[in-house]
């Protein structure tokens, strides 16, 4: 008996530091690859330097992480979650997010209005989906309006994301005198675009490959991807159409049931630090979500990088994030049935 007690005591001593470490870490859920590395390098390390608390990352696709958190409801796997604005509404609607107390995030005082998505999640960086094309492969073709995508001389040359048709659905509705809530108005016009499609890309890498090899010389493309490819030497021209580009915002939220809410708020505050925001914008060529971030002038000039309230107001088409979450399935189904097939 004595021996058993001694062994248990030794085991407890051995496990004690492990448990202490486990309690003193912040768990952040984020996409993998360059997104995880960026969050770690630009936000996580700064957070750890300020608090002494290490950050552990759970990585995965948007829906994988959402499903995992749904299964872990009440006892979340992560303390902080990064996801896209409309997907954030799915977390919120299922009661997975905690209501944010922005008083605990001093840097949120400079947050642009468009990044205040809901009482549960706020923007961390933004980008646009817009028209990107290869002038070297489309001689004499210019794009000034979304309507130019309907040009007959780009027949069989266009690609768009297969995972999210909301950009084209809303643009088509706008061109037909409607908006996201009356998207049916644009159905007929969008069907007219069908001959121009060559393919539908399935992810960022696929989009980059298709435009780099000239397979689809015009795309409805993520601005960050276009800037990245331009940096790699691919001659891509990114356009902000006169109607505006479709805004996308990636957001951050505190998980309901997290036992490290104070640390999570500190992490979110670091994410909105103007210097961190500028570094994120420089790295990903996206828009900061605080108005006091000082960007490299070269980056600030890039199309789709918004640095002033005017740019946010005039150059962005914003699809209501909650409506987008509710309509995505309907839009996707309609798009698959009527445009892709």
């Amino acid at each position: 008996m004595k021996r058993i007690c001694m062994m248990m005591g030794a085991l407890a001593l051995l496990l004690a530091p492990v448990q202490a470490i486990a309690q003193d870490k912040l768990v952040v859920s984020v996409w993998g690859g360059s997104w995880r590395d960026m969050v770690d390098n630009l936000i996580g390390k700064k957070f750890t330097a300020a608090t002494g608390v290490p950050v552990e990352y759970i990585t995965g696709g948007t829906i994988d992480r959402l499903n995992k958190e749904k299964l872990a409801k009440g006892n979340p796997e992560s303390d902080v979650t990064f996801t896209t604005s409309h997907v954030g509404w799915l977390y919120a609607n299922d009661g997975l997010y905690e209501t944010l107390d922005l008083k605990k995030v001093p840097n949120a005082s400079n947050l642009v209005e468009q990044a205040k998505i809901s009482p549960y999640h706020i923007g961390t960086w933004a980008y646009v989906y817009t028209i990107g094309y290869r002038p070297d492969l489309l001689k004499g073709v210019e794009f000034q309006s979304w309507a130019d995508l309907w040009r007959t001389d780009i027949k069989g040359k266009l690609a768009a994301p297969d995972f999210d048709p909301s950009h084209l659905i809303v643009v088509s509705a706008i061109l037909s005198g409607g908006d996201a809530s009356t998207w049916e108005k644009g159905q007929a016009k969008l069907k007219e675009l069908k001959p121009n499609f060559k393919a539908f890309y399935t992810n960022d890498a696929n989009s980059q490959q298709l435009i780099a090899n000239g397979e689809t010389p015009v795309q409805v493309i993520l601005s960050m991807n276009a800037h990245y490819m331009a940096g790699e030497g691919v001659p891509i021209q990114l356009v902000i159409p006169k109607e505006g580009a479709v805004l996308g915002i990636d957001t951050v939220a505190l998980m309901k049931g997290s036992k490290k809410a104070d640390l999570a708020y500190k992490f979110i505050n670091v994410a909105l630090d103007p210097q961190v925001q500028a570094e994120v914008a420089n790295f990903k060529k996206g828009s900061p979500v605080v108005l006091n971030a000082k960007l490299d002038p070269v980056i600030a000039k890039l199309p789709g990088v918004f640095t002033s309230a005017d740019q946010w107001n005039e150059q962005a088409i914003i699809i209501d994030h909650k409506l987008r979450a509710e309509k995505t399935a309907e839009w996707r189904k309609w798009f698959a049935e009527n445009i892709m097939n």
Binding site: F163, N206, N341
Partner: protein
């Protein structure tokens, strides 16, 4: 008493049976539970903007009657059939050479060529096919240089491109199965046919081919069933223009959050797979009889 002794006798013959079967039984339970969850989801209503499914409904299965979904199912069966057929056509000579080659180096080379695709990740393998099949890819460049075509041919985003890449995926399994079947053929039958005056082609057509029927049936069935669940290849090579059932499940489930409808598609796909495999089994019976004769 006699029954008890028989039972104890069996236990003595197979003392570890229960122990060895236990993991398989556990796996079967896990798969059955997952399948039950999918089936349960397929009968629930989709609630827009929520991950929670609604009440029970048959609407998801009713929606599958739409022409689009019927066409995707038919396309899937057709692509599976073409893939299985061309894998057999490409794989049989490889398997035959693998079994009959006497040179060890040649055997090793054939084996490496045949089996290498198994060791490449599906996405890497598919991306490499994009490089080969693209407008500026290897195949078009070669055809242009040889003067066989004036302008690049469209291989990407076509059924041809998808089937070509899928044949690469299923080839190793087909070659392994065919090689196993061919290696079990008693060479004396072929020698006997040859000694009676049959030429090599006749020996192959009347002896080797019929006797390798079990391998052909196993290989074709496996290639067909495997292709039915293909996702990355049709997704990337098909570019949304060539869709199979798995792509539709992804598009409607993961990209749209409509898990109940995606589940109904999965269940329908599973039922169709079983139905087609049962048909293939029935169709293969006459071939089995030929082999027995």
């Amino acid at each position: 008493m006699a029954y008890a002794s028989v039972r104890s006798g069996r236990a003595a013959v197979r003392p570890f049976l229960r122990l060895f079967v236990a993991p398989a039984v556990l796996c079967a339970f896990a798969f059955a539970a997952a399948l039950a969850a999918v089936m349960q989801y397929s009968l629930r209503a989709y609630v827009p903007g929520s991950l929670e499914a609604g009440g029970f409904t048959l609407a998801n299965f009713a929606a599958l009657m739409r022409p689009l979904y019927a066409r995707v199912f038919l396309d899937t069966v057709w692509i599976c059939f073409l893939t299985a057929l061309f894998t057999l056509v490409v794989g049989y000579p490889l398997a035959y050479a693998l079994v009959h080659a006497r040179n060890v180096a040649l055997k090793s080379t054939i084996l490496v060529i045949a089996v290498t695709p198994l060791f490449l990740g599906e996405v890497v393998r598919t991306y490499s096919w994009i490089v080969v099949l693209g407008n500026n890819g290897f195949l078009n460049s070669m055809l242009l240089k040889l003067g066989l075509i004036d302008a690049p041919l469209q291989f990407m985003f076509t059924q041809f491109g998808v089937v070509t890449a899928l044949v690469h995926v299923t080839l190793p399994v087909m070659v392994i199965m065919l090689a196993a079947a061919l290696s079990h053929i008693d060479r004396d039958y072929e020698r006997a046919a040859a000694s009676l005056g049959a030429g090599p082609i006749r020996v192959f057509l009347t002896v080797t081919l019929p006797l390798s029927t079990p391998g052909i049936i196993a290989g074709v069935t496996t290639a067909f069933a495997w292709t039915f669940s293909a996702f990355a290849t049709p997704q990337l090579i098909g570019g949304g223009r060539v869709n199979m059932v798995a792509n539709l499940v992804y598009q409607l489930g993961f990209a749209s959050f409509n898990f109940p409808f995606a589940a109904s598609l999965s269940v329908a796909g599973l039922v169709l797979t079983f139905a087609v495999l049962a048909l293939m089994r029935a169709a293969a019976r006459p071939l089995e009889r030929i082999r027995q004769h």
